[in-house]
C-alpha cells in the first residue's frame, strides 16, 4: 500500500535525526532510489497521521532559516516511532527472506 510504504520511509528518513518537511521529501527520494517523491499534500498528511499516532513529534531544528521571519518546523521520531520502525524493518526483512526462499523453491520445481 502506497501510504504505508510512505509512512515507513518517513520514519526511516528521520531515523538519523530531526529534519524539516522539505528535507524529509529529499531524503525519501534518495533512500527509495527515486521511486518515491512525495508531494506536499500527501507528505504532510502522512506526517500528521504519524504525529496523531504518537510516532513523530515536532522538535527544535539546528539548521539556519532560509527565510528570516519564517520559522521552519522540524520533525523527529519519538521512542514509540523508533521502536515501530525497528519492528517494521524486522518484519520486512522476514517477508523478504520468505519471498526469496519461495521464489527459489519455485525455480527448482519447474
Amino acid at each position: 500500500m502506497g501510504a504505508s510504504l510512505l509512512e515507513f520511509h518517513v520514519l526511516l528518513a528521520l531515523a538519523s535525526g530531526a529534519l524539516h518537511g522539505y528535507a524529509i521529501a529529499d531524503r525519501i527520494a534518495a533512500e527509495s532510489g527515486g521511486t518515491l517523491r512525495p508531494r506536499a499534500g500527501s507528505l504532510y498528511r502522512v506526517i500528521a497521521r504519524l504525529m496523531s499516532e504518537g510516532l513523530l513529534a515536532e522538535s527544535e531544528g539546528e539548521g539556519e532559516d532560509p527565510h528570516p521571519g519564517l520559522t521552519r518546523r522540524y520533525y523527529a521520531l519519538t521512542s514509540a516511532g523508533r521502536r515501530t520502525l525497528g519492528e517494521e524493518a524486522r518484519r520486512l526483512k522476514q517477508a523478504a527472506a520468505a519471498a526469496e526462499k519461495r521464489l527459489g523453491l519455485a525455480r527448482g520445481r519447474s
Binding site: 521529501a25 506536499a40 504532510y44 504518537g54 513523530l56
Partner: protein, 889 residues
C-alpha cells in the same frame, strides 16, 4: 502562485490547515522554484501534479482525518494498526483498479446500469415536476375541485355544478373557507393592429383568494369593478407589452368588450392551464338566476383540519336546499334529491389521466432498473465464484467478514456510481425526446428540466443499485468455503446455481409483466384506430375565423357572408368539398338543451336533453357522415331564420320513437318556433373514439333562434388531398374578405384524431420502449448465466461427449436447463401480470385487462427469446472438444 497554493490549501479542514497549511505552501513553493530550473514545461507539469495532490489529499483528509488535533503520546503502537485505517478508501481504490483491469466486464456493468438509471432518472424528472411538486399556491393541499353526480337521474356520470351551487356553498359552507368558479375559453385580444385568439380564463373574484394568488404588479379585481377589468399573465405582459409597468390602467378589447388591465400575475400563476394569457371577471348574481345551468368548474379551499369526505357530505346536504331557495322545475328538484357532491384534490383535476400514465411509466422504469440490477448482480456473482480461491485465502489468513463484504461491495458501488454519472448525461439527452413525445395539455410540462432533485434521485438510485448488485455477491463472498481450497475450487454447487437461476426467473417474470402491459396498450391502440366514429378524418383540413364587420348585423347577412366564403374556398385548387359546422368533432363540444317532438307534451321537464350544433355547405359529404334518410341542407335552408333541421339517427329515435322523422317538427324548450326535419344522418363521436355516438341536432347556419348567430364561431372543414399544406392559401383568402379576423384552430382532422389518442399513444410508445429494453436485458441475463454454466461444465460435457453423447444431445441438455428457468419466470410473470395490468384499466379500450391472446402471445415471445438466449451457449457447449476440455486441467 503562493496565493493559488494558499487558496488550494483552504480545501483542507481547518484544524489540519492551521497546523500544516503554511508548511505545505512553503514546501510546494520551494519545489516549484527548483523545478523551474528544469524547464518551463516540466515545471508546469510538476506544479499541476502538486496542485492535484493537494486537492486529493485535502479530499481524503476531509473523508478520513489523519490529524487528530493533538499528537498522542503512545507507547508501543503496532505499525499494522495504522496501516489498516485505509478501510473503505483503500477498497474503493482497489475496486477502481480491478474494474480498469477488466474493461469488457466493466463496460457491460456500467453500460447496463447507466441505461437503466438514466431511464428512471428522466422519468423521475418529469414525474417530480408535473405530479409530485405541489401547486404554486399557499397550502395547496387544502385546495379541492368540486364536481357533482346524480346517479339515477338524466345526468349521467360526473358533471360540473350550476351557479346556484356556488352561491349556496359560498354563503353557507363552514368547511370550505372560500369558493370560486372558473371557465377557460379562447377569444380575441386586440392591442392596436394586433388581433389574436388567445386562451383566457373567466374567474369569479373569489377564485383569487381561494387559490391564494397575488399579482406581482397592480391589484386583483373587486366587486365594484364589475366585469370591466382584466388581469394579465406575466407571459402576455412580457411578449405583448414589453414588460412595461404603465400597462396598468390601459384598456384594450378582450373577449368582445373593452376592459382595463389592473394587474399582472406572477410567472408561476398558470390557471387553469398553461398558456392562459389573461383573466376576465365572471359575475354570478342571485338575482334573475336560472337554475340547472350545469357545467361550471368549482374550486374550494378547505378549512384547516377537515378532510374531503366531510366536505363532500356537507356540500351534498347544502345542495338539498337549492330548489327551495332558487325554485326551478320538478325535474330539477328530482335531480337535486339524487345529487351528491364529488370532492377531489385540485392537482388531480388539473393533471387528469397524465398522472397515472407517468406513474405507470415510473413503475416500468423501476422494473427495468431491477432487471438491470439482477443482470449485474449475476455478473458479480460469477466473478466472485472465479475469485473464490483468492477470497478463501484471504479469509484463512485472517481477513474479517466485514473486510470481504467491503471488498465486494466497493466494486459494485464504484461501478454503480460511474453508471449513475453516465445516467445523468443519458437523462439529459433523453429528456427532450420524452418531452417531445408527451401529449399536449399536461400541465407544468414546459418547465421540466434536470434539477438538483434529479441529481439527488440519480445518486440515490445509483447507490441503491450498487447495494443490490453487490449484495448477493458480497454475501456469497463473505463466507467462502474453506474446504474448497483443497479441491481446487471447481464444479458448480447446487446452492449457487439455485441463486442464479432464481435471479434469471425473477427478471424473466418482470420483463413479461412489462411486455404484457405494452401488448394490451398496443391492442387498445389498434382497436381505437379501427373505431368508426361516424366520420372520416382523412384529407380534411379545419380552421375557424371570426369576422367582425358592421355589415354582419343579423342571421341572414351573417349566413350570406359565410356561404360566399365557402364558394371561394371551394374554388381553391384540389378542393373536393367544403362545409361548415359550429362545433367540429374532436376539437369542441356541442351544447345541450331540451327538445321535444311534436307529439310530446309541453312543460319544464318535457322532451329529451339533446345536443345541438349547426352546419352548412357540404358538411356531411366533407366529413363522410352518411345521410340515412331525407336530404342534407341546401343553401336556401340557411337564409331563413326559422327553418329546417337535420337530426342524427339516435336523436330521431328519441324524438319520434318508432316513426319516420322526415317532415315531423321539433321544438327547443323555452322557444316558440318549430323546426321541420328534412334529413336524418348518422350519429358521430364528438369528443373522442372512446365515446358513445352522440344524438345530435343540426340547425341551419344561422342557428335555432334569431340571435344565435351572434355568439357563434363556425369551423370550416375542407376535403382535399392537400389538407396538410393548404393553410397558407386559406389565410390569404381570409385576409381578402376579413383582414381584421385571425385564423385559428387550424388543424387537419387526422391531426385531431392523433391528438385525441395521444394519452394512450404516449404511454404505449414509452412503455413499448421500456419493455423492449426489459426484454433485451432479460435475454442478456439468461445468456450470460448459461454461458457461465457452460464454461463451468466444460469438463463434464467433455466427459459426456467422450462417453458418446452427441452434439445435439448436449445442446438439448443446455437449452432444457435454460428453458426450465424461463418457464418458471413466465409462470410467475403471468400471475403477476393478472394483478399488475389493472393499473392500465383506464387506458385500455376494446380489450380486457386480462386478455388471453395478449398474455399467450407475450408469454410465447418470452419463451422464444429465452430459447434463443439459451441456444447460443448450447451451441458452444456442443462444440466442446473432449480432448481439449480434459487437458485443460
Amino acid at each position: 502562485m503562493r496565493t493559488f497554493l494558499r487558496f488550494l490549501v483552504r480545501l483542507f479542514p481547518p484544524s489540519f490547515r492551521s497546523h500544516f497549511g503554511s508548511a505545505i505552501v512553503e514546501h510546494a513553493a520551494i519545489e516549484c522554484e527548483r523545478d523551474l530550473s528544469r524547464g518551463r514545461v516540466a515545471a508546469l507539469r510538476s506544479f499541476l501534479l502538486t496542485a492535484f495532490d493537494i486537492g486529493r489529499s485535502a479530499f481524503s483528509e476531509r473523508l478520513r482525518p489523519s490529524w487528530a488535533g493533538v499528537p498522542i503520546e503512545k507507547e508501543g503502537t503496532a505499525m499494522t494498526s495504522s496501516f489498516n485505517v485505509d478501510g473503505w478508501a483503500a477498497e474503493l481504490r482497489h475496486a477502481l483498479r480491478t474494474l480498469r483491469r477488466t474493461p469488457g466486464f466493466t463496460a457491460t456493468v456500467v453500460g447496463t446500469l447507466a441505461l437503466a438509471i438514466g431511464t428512471i432518472a428522466a422519468v423521475f424528472t418529469v414525474l417530480d415536476r408535473v405530479v409530485i411538486s405541489p401547486l404554486p399556491y399557499a397550502h395547496p393541499e387544502r385546495l379541492v375541485f368540486v364536481a357533482a353526480e346524480a346517479p339515477g337521474s338524466e345526468m349521467t356520470g360526473e358533471f360540473g355544478p350550476a351557479a346556484e351551487f356556488y352561491l349556496q356553498y359560498k354563503e353557507a359552507s363552514r368547511l370550505l373557507e372560500d369558493v370560486g368558479i372558473y371557465a377557460s375559453f379562447t377569444n380575441s385580444l386586440r392591442v392596436g393592429d394586433r388581433v389574436e385568439r388567445v386562451r383566457m380564463g373567466a374567474f369569479t373574484n373569489s377564485l383569487y383568494s381561494t387559490l391564494g394568488a397575488q399579482p406581482q404588479l397592480g391589484r386583483l379585481p373587486v366587486a365594484s369593478d364589475e366585469d370591466r377589468v382584466a388581469v394579465i399573465s406575466d407571459a402576455l405582459w412580457r411578449t405583448w407589452f414589453g414588460a412595461d409597468p404603465s400597462v396598468l390602467g390601459r384598456s384594450y378589447e378582450m373577449a368582445g368588450a373593452s376592459r382595463t388591465i389592473i394587474g399582472v400575475m406572477r410567472p408561476e400563476f398558470q390557471f387553469p392551464s398553461d398558456g392562459t394569457l389573461l383573466w376576465v371577471v365572471a359575475q354570478v348574481r342571485a338575482e334573475g338566476l336560472q337554475t340547472g345551468q350545469f357545467g361550471y368548474n368549482l374550486v374550494g379551499r378547505m378549512a384547516p383540519g377537515t378532510d374531503r369526505e366531510a366536505v363532500a357530505a356537507e356540500l351534498t346536504t347544502l345542495a338539498r336546499g337549492l330548489p327551495q331557495r332558487f325554485g326551478g322545475s320538478p325535474g330539477y328538484a328530482r335531480l337535486i334529491a339524487r345529487h351528491r357532491a364529488v370532492v377531489r384534490p385540485l392537482l388531480d383535476e388539473m393533471l387528469g389521466p397524465a398522472a397515472r400514465s407517468l406513474w405507470i411509466l415510473f413503475a416500468a422504469a423501476a422494473i427495468v432498473l431491477l432487471i438491470a440490477c439482477v443482470n449485474v448482480a449475476n455478473l458479480f456473482m460469477v466473478r466472485v465464484e472465479s475469485r473464490h480461491r483468492d477470497l478463501a485465502v484471504r479469509r484463512a489468513i485472517g481477513a474479517s467478514r466485514a473486510q470481504l463484504v467491503r471488498l465486494q461491495m466497493a466494486e459494485a458501488l464504484v461501478a454503480a456510481l460511474i453508471g449513475g454519472a453516465l445516467a445523468v448525461c443519458l437523462a439529459g439527452l433523453g429528456l427532450p425526446v420524452l418531452l417531445h413525445a408527451a401529449p399536449a395539455g399536461i400541465p407544468r410540462l414546459a418547465d421540466v428540466s434536470l434539477s438538483g432533485r434529479t441529481l439527488a434521485f440519480t445518486l440515490l438510485a445509483a447507490l441503491l443499485s450498487g447495494v443490490l448488485c453487490g449484495g448477493a455477491a458480497a454475501w456469497r463472498g463473505a463466507s467462502p468455503n474453506l474446504a474448497r481450497l483443497r479441491e481446487g475450487g471447481r464444479g458448480s454447487t447446487r446452492r449457487r446455481r439455485l441463486g442464479r437461476d432464481g435471479l434469471v426467473a425473477a427478471q424473466t417474470a418482470m420483463a413479461l409483466v412489462l411486455l404484457i402491459g405494452a401488448g394490451l396498450l398496443m391492442r387498445s391502440f389498434l382497436a381505437l384506430r379501427s373505431v368508426d366514429p361516424g366520420y372520416d378524418t382523412r384529407d380534411v383540413f379545419t380552421f375557424q375565423f371570426a369576422p367582425e364587420q358592421a355589415s354582419l348585423k343579423d342571421g341572414p347577412s351573417w349566413a350570406r357572408f359565410h356561404l360566399a366564403f365557402l364558394d371561394r374556398l371551394a374554388a381553391l385548387p384540389g378542393v373536393t368539398s367544403v362545409g361548415i359546422v359550429e362545433n367540429v368533432p374532436l376539437d369542441e363540444g356541442t351544447r345541450g338543451d331540451r327538445f321535444r317532438g311534436e307529439d310530446m307534451p309541453d312543460g319544464p321537464d318535457a322532451g329529451r336533453p339533446l345536443n345541438w350544433t349547426f352546419a352548412a355547405g357540404d358538411y356531411f359529404r366533407t366529413m363522410a357522415i352518411d345521410v340515412v334518410d331525407g336530404r342534407p341542407f341546401e343553401t336556401a335552408d340557411h337564409l331563413s331564420v326559422h327553418g329546417n333541421v337535420v337530426i342524427s339517427r339516435t336523436a330521431a329515435q328519441l324524438l319520434f320513437p318508432g316513426q319516420r322523422a322526415i317532415g315531423r317538427r321539433v321544438q327547443q324548450q323555452g322557444q316558440k318556433d318549430w323546426h321541420t326535419v328534412v334529413g336524418v344522418v348518422e350519429d358521430v363521436m364528438q369528443y373522442g373514439f372512446r365515446d358513445k355516438p352522440q344524438a345530435l341536432l343540426y340547425f341551419p347556419l344561422a342557428g335555432p333562434t334569431p340571435t344565435s348567430w351572434s355568439i357563434t364561431t363556425p369551423a370550416y372543414v375542407i376535403k382535399t388531398a392537400r389538407a396538410e399544406v393548404i393553410a397558407p392559401e386559406v389565410r390569404t383568402l381570409i385576409r381578402q374578405v376579413a383582414p381584421e379576423a385571425p385564423m385559428y384552430r387550424a388543424y387537419t382532422m387526422a391531426g385531431l384524431a392523433a391528438r385525441s389518442m395521444v394519452g394512450l399513444s404516449f404511454t404505449l410508445l414509452t412503455l413499448g420502449v421500456v419493455s423492449a429494453l426489459a426484454l433485451f436485458l432479460g435475454a442478456l441475463g439468461l445468456y450470460g448465466v448459461l454461458s457461465v454454466v457452460v464454461a463451468e461444465r466444460t469438463r463434464e460435457i467433455g466427459v459426456r461427449m467422450a462417453l458418446g453423447a452427441t452434439a445435439a444431445g448436449v445442446r438439448r441438455m443446455v437449452v432444457a436447463q435454460g428453458a426450465r428457468v424461463v418457464a418458471l419466470g413466465v409462470a410467475i410473470g403471468l400471475l403477476t401480470a393478472l394483478v399488475a395490468t389493472r393499473a392500465l384499466s383506464g387506458l385500455l379500450f376494446g380489450v380486457a385487462a386480462f386478455d388471453g391472446p395478449t398474455f399467450a402471445a407475450m408469454a410465447s415471445l418470452m419463451l422464444v427469446i429465452g430459447g434463443l438466449a439459451a441456444y447460443v451457449p448450447a451451441r458452444r457447449a456442443s462444440r466442446v472438444d473432449p480432448c481439449e476440455s480434459l487437458r485443460s486441467d
